[in-house]
């Protein structure tokens, strides 16, 4: 234990303000070698800001950072890398047009004797890394074409390649599903044992209690305290983050659903889905559960008109329906909310209210003109019920914290009044309190007659909100859970793994 207590990194009274907001208010913490130190707090608490400051991507207004006994007032990304700090940011920093290997070696490409980039060695070394950590990607995959979860793997691999002493992980598991999370934990444990200090951010408190030794809680940019994991419970931590008691979520009451409104028959999608047949009823939340290659996301996306269907049919309100592009399906009252919000969901340079109204501008126009005052009024209820925190109503979506961006995306969906919702991981990166609030909103929507198809990598969430769950495995529906209340997350996990 003694050797583990050496402070590897210490953050000394760091403050940082942005226009209109004090994001960090003299925050200090220490990170020991061989420690997983969790950093938790509500959306907008300042976690990502702190990570960026430690990694040199942002300059603090005041305070300093000490590593290996040396104190730095300002760090640059290059300097931070040199002194052994590696970071995986919440928003990904990979180059989409480059391959996995090129991304991992970016700026440090091995050279041949003639000074040209040695692609063969780069590829071989990347393969070695991939195998060491048992990942499923290939060195020559183009990063931009990978799904979010695998891009996350590349980002982590890139950080590991640095052989750093300090690893900063900002919500690394948010996009991952069960087995990938377990895998990530083994990896982190392995690195910890080698004496690395790991600063770990997540909104999943159970996760944190199982892998962290110490936990620091931030609230509104202030440090509330650092606690030993063995001394606290989930309830205590949640209370510290929110500043008041939050009732834990009970399972919701169920209401008998109405008529079938959407039905698929032997839906097949090239190479992804084989003969998926299911029904969605009015006033029902139908959960989809499955691993990355299960085809769940493809089912949602094909219903949204994003993937061509190879064979099989879809019936909507009793009539045959061939999705022909998103604009078409939206007109039919189907709304799709993508998981990858930065790439597919949000217009980042927009002030956030404009994102909320984008998919249903008709609601704020009169005779074809947008009425700005009506727009602000119309988004207000969504902003307050989802607790969207922003420095001002004109704040660009880009500068909101990750969780708040997710809330904007959801507000945008709620704003459209669609009849059928197709949701991909709607609470990814959202804090505990708002996650419950979103679950309430989904239940309310269901009770008012909406039908919701939800895919979530968060199994607990699926079990909490779904009326019924379809488990898919390798492109086929394998199970249907009629009463999710009787199933545990462990059981659901093993079903998604083909059990």
């Amino acid at each position: 234990m003694v050797s583990e207590q050496a402070a590897l990194l210490s953050v000394n009274e760091i403050s940082k303000s942005f226009p209109g907001i004090l994001a960090l208010d003299s925050v200090s913490l220490t990170l020991h070698a061989g420690e997983v130190h969790a950093l938790i707090g509500a959306n907008g608490a300042g976690k990502s800001t702190l990570v960026k400051i430690i990694a040199g991507a942002l300059q603090p207004d005041r305070g300093s950072i000490t590593i290996n006994g040396k104190t730095f007032q300002v760090l640059t990304p290059l300097l931070a890398r040199k002194i052994g700090i590696a970071a995986v940011y919440q928003e990904q920093q990979l180059v989409p047009d480059l391959t996995v290997a090129e991304n991992i070696f970016l700026g440090k490409e091995p050279r041949t004797t003639f000074g040209r980039v040695d692609y063969r060695r780069m590829s071989a070394e990347t393969m070695e890394l991939i195998q060491t950590y048992g990942l499923s990607i290939q060195p020559d995959y183009v990063v931009g074409k990978l799904p979010l979860a695998q891009r996350q793997e590349v980002a982590i691999l890139k950080a590991l390649k640095e052989e750093a002493k300090v690893l900063l992980l900002d919500e690394p598991t948010a996009a991952l599903t069960g087995p990938q999370i377990a895998f990530m934990f083994r990896l982190i444990e392995q690195l910890r044992k080698r004496g690395m200090g790991i600063l770990y951010i997540s909104h999943h408190i159970d996760e944190i209690l199982s892998i962290a030794q110490r936990i620091t809680v931030l609230r509104n940019g202030k440090k509330i305290g650092t606690f030993l994991a063995q001394d606290v419970t989930k309830e205590v931590l949640i209370e510290k983050m929110a500043g008041r008691r939050i009732e834990s979520e009970s399972r919701f009451s169920r209401k008998p659903p109405g008529d079938v409104i959407l039905e698929t028959q032997h839906l097949s999608i090239n190479g992804k889905v084989e003969k998926a047949s299911f029904v969605l009823k009015e006033g029902e939340i139908l959960g989809f559960s499955g691993a990355a290659d299960s085809g769940c996301k493809e089912v949602l996306r094909s219903l949204a008109g994003l993937y061509p269907i190879r064979s099989g049919g879809i019936k909507l309100f009793g009539k045959t329906f061939r999705p022909r592009g998103v604009a078409d399906t939206m007109q039919q009252g189907i709304l799709f909310v993508p998981e990858d919000m930065r790439r597919e969901g949000l217009v980042l340079p927009f002030p956030f209210p404009k994102n909320i109204t984008l998919a249903k501008l008709q609601k704020v126009t009169s005779r074809g003109f947008i009425l700005p005052h009506r727009e602000i009024q119309a988004v207000y209820p969504y902003v307050s019920s989802l607790r969207i925190v922003a420095p001002s109503p004109w704040a660009e979506t880009r500068i909101l914290s990750g969780g708040n961006q997710r809330k904007v995306l959801l507000a945008k969906a709620l704003f459209t009044d669609a009849k059928i919702w197709l949701l991909e991981d709607p609470t990814q990166g959202v804090d505990v309190e708002t996650r419950q609030e979103i679950h309430h909103l989904l239940i309310e929507a269901r009770n008012s007659g909406k039908s919701i198809l939800i895919f979530s990598s968060d199994l607990e969430e699926l079990l909490t909100v779904s009326d019924r769950i379809i488990v898919m495995y390798k492109g086929r529906p394998t199970r249907e859970i009629e009463n999710p209340a009787t199933v545990t997350t462990q059981e659901l996990l093993s079903m998604t793994l083909g059990g």
Partner: protein, 309 residues
Amino acid sequence: MKDVFLTLFGGRNVLVLVLLVLALITGIVNPRFLTLQNVLNIMLQISVLGIVSVGATILLVSGGLDLSAGSLLSLSAYVAGLVILRLQSLPLALLVAFCTSAGFGAFNGLLAATERAHPFIITLGMMTFLQGIAIAISRGSPINGMGGLYELIGVRDFLRIPLPVFVFLAVLVSVDIFLRYFPLGRYAYAIGGNQEASRLSGIRVGRVKVILYALNGVCVGIAAVVLSAILDSALPTMGSGYELRAVAATVIGGTPLFGGRGSVWRTLLGVLLLGLVSNSLNLMGVSANLQNVVLGAIMVMAVMFQGSR
């Protein structure tokens, strides 16, 4: 330090400041600069570039670009001139000019909407293509005398302000309203900011692009009519260079090249800056070649000072 620098020199405020300082210095050096006549002169000189730049702003905001604007201007003006020369019908001439410009504009949009190539390449090709057509039908000879068009726009003024200036302001205000209050205008920003997110929001991206490029074409058509009215002639190469100066003015004004942001008022500042500088250089008797050096330097500096955010 960098922050202080950026707040002082980043954004629009600087441009206004630079404009004022520039006007003052020139005014002191050469008193003729601040006379009413010269101010009106400058306004007349910038009106055509202004109209083309407003069109360019619509495209830049949506992540698009039109390098064929100059050639299209020449072609539209020349066909209008031909109609006037042969048929002596002014309304028909205007109609033909607008059909040509809006039509080829929409065609640019159709090509851009296929997403096969960057609009830079597509419209670069169209630039050569349209210039070729203009030269071919003219066989290189200009049309002198635009008949009624000259009397209608070219020489008239209101309160001593030349009519082309009003045309420019009308285009500016209309496009401003379009971009801010029309759903299509909102979609232009959305597509420029994140095309995939726009598509997933149910926006028919291709259709919107065709309309935006067509609108840019309309602006080019208006510019063609105004320019040929001012010059009272139509030349097959009269528009060349406008496409790049329009993009320069727009970007100097502070509308980024990568889309999602910007406004026509910023573009107005950019156009004013270019106009003021060349006018004051003229008054100071700087030779044309040296003027280009100064203008180029100013463009680069202005864009650097915008900061990259």
